[in-house]
Symmetry: C2
Subunit: 307 residues, 2 copies
């Protein structure tokens, strides 16, 4: 789907009377220049990109104390207290979590209070009715129990949702010590499906699988290897050539064979970039080299991250 994060933040911040600098993602040099020149007090991005900015500032010897930025509103990816510490120290900010889904409203579903770190994010109950349900039975669970987060919209008109199943695993609770009376959701602890979140982009292995069909030389045998380079996630696609293609290739010169492999890899890489919007390194493998079904479970995703 289309990413609603930036536009929602932009509109909301303007409603609050803030001046907004819409910088989009990436282009770290320019981001750092804008942080220095325009002196914003708040930055909004994914937690992993905030880590990247913190690391780059150290590399370039930019003093974070000299920046005006005081708050970081980070979302679109699950993150941990360790990442919060790294970002808060690296950028000299108070970093809070924001949670939202395009299907519900985009940004504006829940927000962590900057004075109540680690106690959960307030869900705006005047607009959304949240439940946490058992992932197998769908029955609502009591406060504090982990299950699938489900939303019903109360005020949305054009596209209301009843019990929208987010597949995010978390728990709900009322925090009597908090400043607000709205219910809080815990950090997201996992997914009830195999969706990956890579640099803020939602990714199912099946999306890559669907693109393989368009390239007849490739077999539908693949694996996504997820790793973390620095603070950014990277997905490498391992994919096999078809058995007949491989047989034909055996009679080719090694250089020609290499060129064919590179051409296939580029073709798939461009398809993925064009459809999913992520650049993924491609490794073309021999037929039969990627693990098949193991006890009924296909190892489509090999997650090497240690977040």
């Amino acid at each position: 789907g289309l990413f609603t994060g930036g536009l929602g933040m932009h509109g909301g911040a303007e409603r609050l009377g803030m001046a907004v600098i819409p910088v989009s993602g990436g282009m770290t040099d320019r981001q750092l220049m804008i942080l220095q020149d325009f002196a914003p007090e708040v930055i909004c991005c994914t937690p992993s990109y905030a880590q990247t900015l913190a690391e780059e500032m150290i590399k370039r010897g930019i003093d974070s104390e000299a920046l005006a930025v005081k708050y970081a509103v980070l979302g679109a990816e699950p993150w941990t207290e360790a990442i919060r510490q790294q970002v808060e120290q690296g950028l000299q900010v108070n970093a809070t979590n924001i949670y939202g889904l395009s299907e519900i409203i985009g940004p504006g579903v829940s927000q962590e209070d900057c004075e109540e770190h680690g106690t959960g994010s307030n869900i705006w109950e005047d607009h959304f009715f949240p439940e946490v349900v058992d992932r197998d039975t769908g029955e609502p669970l009591p406060e504090g129990k982990d299950g699938v987060l489900v939303f019903t919209t109360l005020t949305k008109e054009a596209f209301p949702m009843v019990r929208y199943w987010t597949n995010d695993i978390c728990s709900l609770h009322y925090d009597s010590d908090g400043k607000r009376t709205h219910i809080k959701m815990s950090p997201i602890k996992g997914r009830a499906d195999d969706m990956l979140i890579i640099r803020g982009v939602n990714l199912f292995a099946s999306q890559v699988e669907a693109l393989l069909e368009d390239i007849p030389e490739l077999a539908p045998c693949y694996q996504l290897v997820v790793s973390r380079e620095g603070s950014l996630d990277q997905v490498t696609v391992r994919v096999e050539v078809e058995e007949t293609v491989q047989q034909n290739w055996q009679s080719l010169e090694p250089n020609t064979q290499k060129a064919r492999t590179e051409m296939l890899a580029n073709q798939l890489s461009e398809k993925i970039q064009g459809n999913i919007g992520l650049r993924m390194p491609i490794v073309i493998e021999n037929y039969g080299s990627i693990p098949r079904s193991q006890g009924g479970k296909l190892g489509r995703i090999h997650d090497k991250r240690n977040i």
Copy 2:
């Protein structure tokens, strides 16, 4: 500077009561999918990207007659009647020109009427006072004469501009046969400086030059070669290594030398991508191989396009 095109169009279109799909640039597969699935009636992009879409639709056998899109509002680059024809036939649309500058307001400075193709774009004179002046003397020129377009804002409050020199070369005239009484500007016929417009991004050679300084192995001797691949512009940077670096390299194994060259090229490519936002192929040359000043004129830009 920051690109104001998309946000301005988005806000303006919503004011008119239109539903807007903000898709950003690139990702042609997804753009075509959205054109088919969401059935927008208007598309807005650069003329060269509209050409790309038209070409890709032919390649993929997508029938443009089956699309709902009827109008293309194209800007941020100079374009010709030949490009208009290609886009209108390829996408089955009525294609008009939009002109704007971030410094004045972004989109909304002038717009061509879809029934008055090729007669110029109406400048909204209730908000902007346009003049065309002699590029040497700065004196205003009469209607129909080519010169530098200059704007004075009449209603802008926070950042008013008096005689803002756009460096765009065109002429102005009142069209008594037109539907509106506002003055019209001709298509942009060139620039009064050496600014290039590459895929909607304004680019001065000096921006690349400034980045060379950060890489001590590179000499400040460079050339930007502008070419057109399909319908998209491409800038290749030819740059020399420093004389001393080259002398040291001569004692290296060819493979090591090649690896060093690639490393330098990647370093510069990433710097350019991070600062300017364009991906440019880099060609590292021997010291002394790029033409020096020729009769006082530095051939920094070699434009091979034939638009």
